[in-house]
C-alpha cells in the first residue's frame, strides 16, 4: 500500500527544488530543466490525488481517470514548451555566444 499523503509531500519537495533551481541558477538550460522538474512535481500530485479518489468526486462506483488525463495534457504542454524554449536558447547562443541569463538583460526594468 503506497502512502499517498507522502506522495503529495514528495511532490511539494520536488516543486520547491525546481523553484530554487529557477531562482538561483544563471544557466538558461538548467533553468528550463528546473521548470520541467516543477511540471513533473505537479504531475505527481495529480496522479497521487487520482489514486486517493479513484472514482472521481462523486464516487459513483466507476473508475474515473480525470487526473491522469490532466497529466497527459501537462506532458504534451511540457513537450511544446521544451521545443520552443530550446529554440530560444539556440538563437540566444547564436546572438550572444552565451546561455547565461545575465547577458540578456535588455528587457529588465
Amino acid at each position: 500500500m503506497v502512502p499517498v499523503d507522502h506522495v503529495i509531500g514528495l511532490s511539494a519537495l520536488l516543486f520547491v527544488i525546481g523553484l530554487v533551481g529557477v531562482m538561483t541558477r544563471r544557466n538558461l538550460i538548467v533553468m528550463l530543466m528546473s521548470i520541467e522538474l516543477m511540471l513533473n512535481a505537479v504531475n505527481l500530485a495529480f496522479v497521487g490525488f487520482n489514486r486517493l479518489w479513484p472514482q472521481g468526486p462523486v464516487g459513483a462506483g466507476e473508475a474515473s481517470l480525470d487526473g491522469q488525463v490532466f497529466v497527459l495534457t501537462v506532458i504534451a504542454v511540457a513537450a511544446a514548451e521544451v521545443a520552443v524554449g530550446l529554440g530560444i536558447v539556440i538563437s540566444m547562443f547564436r546572438n550572444r555566444d552565451s546561455v547565461n541569463i545575465d547577458d540578456v538583460s535588455l528587457l529588465r526594468w
Partner: protein
C-alpha cells in the same frame, strides 16, 4: 511494511537526490541532464506504484526518451562554460526563501500525522482502455487543443532556430 511501501521510499529518495544533484551541479551540464533522467525514471516507478500504468509508460517514453534527449542534444551542440551561483542580489530573495521554508515545514508537519489508506481500485484503473475512452469522449476538446498547440510549437521552434528568416 509491504514491498510497494519500501519501493516508494526508495524511488522517492532517488528522485529527491537526483533533483538536488541536477540543480547543484554547476561544473558539468551533461551530468545535470543525466540526473534529470534519473528523476524522471524514478517518478515513472512511483506512477506504477500508484496504478497509473499508461502514464508511467508515457513518462518514460516522452520525458526519459524525447525531452531529455532534446536537452542533451542542445547541451552538446552549444559549447558551455561552467557557471557558478551568484550571491542573491535582490532583497526579496531572502523573503522568498523564508516563505518556501515555511511552506515545506507546514507540509512536513502535516505529513507527520500519518496517512490515509488509499481505497481499493476499480476494475481497469490506469489502463489504456479507460484512459483512451476518457480522452476521446469527455476530454475530446483538450486533445484537439493540444494538437493545435503542438503544431504551433513546431512552427515556432523552426522559426526560432532558423538562421535567417526570409
Amino acid at each position: 511494511m509491504s514491498v510497494p511501501f519500501v519501493l516508494f521510499y526508495i524511488f522517492a529518495a532517488l528522485a529527491v537526490v537526483s533533483a538536488l544533484a541536477m540543480i547543484l551541479n554547476v561544473r558539468n551540464t551533461v551530468a545535470s541532464v543525466m540526473s534529470l533522467v534519473v528523476t524522471m525514471v524514478s517518478l515513472a516507478g512511483i506512477y506504477v506504484l500508484l496504478a497509473a500504468y499508461l502514464v508511467a509508460a508515457i513518462q518514460i517514453m516522452v520525458y526519459g526518451g524525447a525531452i531529455v534527449v532534446l536537452f542533451l542534444f542542445v547541451v552538446m551542440l552549444l559549447n558551455l562554460r561552467s557557471d557558478e551561483f551568484l550571491p542573491a542580489r535582490q532583497r526579496w530573495m531572502k523573503f522568498a526563501g523564508a516563505l518556501l521554508g515555511v511552506f515545506l515545514l507546514v507540509e512536513g508537519l502535516r505529513l507527520l500525522g500519518g496517512f490515509h489508506e488509499p481505497p481499493p481500485l476499480p476494475e481497469g484503473f490506469g489502463g489504456y482502455r479507460l484512459l483512451g475512452l476518457s480522452l476521446y469522449t469527455d476530454y475530446l476538446l483538450i486533445v484537439e487543443v493540444i494538437s493545435l498547440l503542438l503544431t504551433a510549437a513546431i512552427v515556432g521552434a523552426l522559426i526560432l532556430a532558423k538562421r535567417e528568416i526570409d
